[in-house]
Symmetry: C2
């Protein structure tokens, strides 16, 4: 059965990097992968055409797709839009919510070829391989009530950080399963010494633990987790946390690998439908110059093959091709090092295709 794939280039460098990833998708088709690829508008790009960041047409296509490949959304030109619901980011949040993509998998891996690009000492990040499992459709991102209103003669802004037991359990199971398949260590991050919502979080994680006897569960407060990531990141295997803490910690972890231009992510729902996107953002400062690194987006295609299309062999081939290209010394500007060859976005795409 032909599976539908939706490519959402989005904003900033999004169109450039998804263009290269789309070439890889086409190469997979040529190798027999039975997919049908279409494109859609999301974020600022959609706002410019339709006046909203998630047009009905895009949402419909997204629902029909088995896998969605997203570039990135957002840019300074849309930061001034008064109505928060019209901002590019809300398009992204809308897809996550509408498709129920509650499980965000954010690997933080140091590519051996790039360990020296990290701001951390090489020995602290060499071989680093963390999987951050972030809850993506709940928490303070979506909690009600929320808003800005007048109280006692002044304005007050408020948001609600909320999780139900079933929401926590659902993401907890994904994380325990992941730890079971990997290094058997799961660290749950909360702020249970201050926030009631995370007391419940911790309790549910504890309750699940006996069902996964080979996984060692630990807990860290979020402030301590941020410190430990900086101090000794290799102590972590799988980390599970809520939407907001996950946003912060996964970006910090990604940056300390030195490989942020290389890191893909997956956002999955219960039926394995997923959205795949690079961890880095839309990088408006370098958009349109043809110098962005397409590898995280190309590796997002690999994640899609693995998690939504059940094609692990093809996924591994893409990953191997990327490794070959790095071994060959090709680098986009963001990961350029002495003695390596700087290439453009398209040249990097060419090279991966050639090695594929």
């Amino acid at each position: 059965m032909t599976q539908k794939i939706l490519v959402l280039p989005g904003d900033g460098i999004g169109p450039e990097i998804t263009a290269q990833a789309s070439r890889i998708l086409a190469a997979c088709q040529a190798r027999g992968l039975d997919i049908e690829v279409e494109e859609g508008l999301l974020g600022g790009a959609a706002y410019e055409v339709h006046g909203e960041p998630l047009p009905a047409e895009t949402l419909e296509k997204a629902k029909a797709a088995r896998g969605i490949l997203l570039g990135a959304v957002g840019g300074p030109q849309w930061d001034k839009i008064e109505d928060l619901s019209k901002r590019p980011e809300k398009g992204l949040l809308g897809v996550r919510k509408q498709l129920g993509l509650f499980a965000n998998l954010r690997p933080a891996i140091t590519y051996p070829q790039l360990a020296s690009a990290s701001s951390l000492k090489p020995e602290l990040v060499a071989g680093l391989d963390i999987m951050i499992v972030r809850e993506l459709t709940g928490g303070i991102y979506f909690g009600q009530p929320r808003g800005i209103e007048e109280r006692n003669g002044e304005r007050v802004g408020f948001n609600t950080y909320v999780y139900s037991e079933s929401e926590i359990e659902r993401i907890g199971r994904v994380a325990f399963e992941m730890a079971h398949k990997r290094g058997k260590k799961l660290c749950s991050v909360d702020k249970a010494n201050v926030l009631e919502v995370t007391i419940l979080w911790r309790e549910v994680m504890e309750r699940l633990a006996p069902e996964y006897p080979d996984v060692e569960l630990s807990h860290l407060y979020v402030d301590n987790a941020a410190m430990q990531l900086v101090r000794a990141p290799k102590q972590f295997d799988v980390v599970v946390t809520g939407n907001m803490f996950g946003d912060i910690l996964s970006d910090a972890a990604a940056m300390l690998t030195g490989s942020i231009g290389m890191l893909p992510s997956a956002s999955l729902n219960e039926s394995g439908q997923g959205m795949y996107e690079p961890c880095h953002g839309s990088a408006p400062d370098i958009a349109g110059q043809g110098i962005a690194n397409p590898l995280a987006t190309i590796l997002s295609v690999a994640m899609m093959l693995r998690y939504s299309l059940d094609e692990p062999a093809l996924a591994s081939r893409i990953e191997a091709a990327v490794g070959t290209v790095l071994d060959g010394g090709l680098r986009t500007a963001d990961i350029a090092l002495e003695g390596t060859r700087s290439v453009s976005t398209a040249e990097m795409g060419d090279a991966v295709l050639a090695a594929f």
Copy 2:
């Protein structure tokens, strides 16, 4: 007029490190500083005696004191207390709230003698000097409603992230003043692309900016701020943010200096009354062994002299004494490096006193 100082040793290594800092306070008295020092119970230590982490007696003493010196609170033996309001941390939060200590100043400084102890490459942290200004009596730490309750047949945990314009303005002014006196750069951290409360935060910061024309105001989303701290921390001068983001970012920043055992903090109210404490926690794993680093607590005394007692000269003398001791190669275990001499908590106190 004699000023009252309250020492709250707290839990874990708290008693050991405040003991050394108290010797410095006594030495200041010997040099003519007109203070009266008493002790009080807070946190787990208070819970064991009074069944609550902030006894009325301690609160009364705290209110009467011009400066409070706190060791640290918390430990695993109290993590199981069902009633969150009885946990050690709530004692600390209670003092902050009851005394209105809304302005938390958390310097992240790399001591030249310790730059190589950082997990970051030395050139990225040498000379680092960031001041994180964290709002401390509002935000999600104190927002109502909060709790865990039954909804639709399951339990739900919830907290409220809330700030009023006046709360934001108050901390904003502290941060702008601080930037004005320092490097003239202020970075405000929020998540204004998702959270309404931080849209208001950003708006108020923007409104204040014209009153401080020599300060350059910038904004970062919290996930990006976490990345930038890891990537290139020296880009920051003063950072201002809310209670929760400040908790996370200040700990990450402290850790990346490599000098976390060295970093003091101040929590001030509008009349200059303040609580001073080391950035590191109660370190229950090494409590009672006499090996904890007392320098952050000793430097907290220096901050107290500067911000609450208007004794900058004495403050500088303490800081200089600490510098002398580091130059001499003395180190507690946490900052030990090859070629330096490892000393105990008390020996470190001796050395600072001798250099003072």
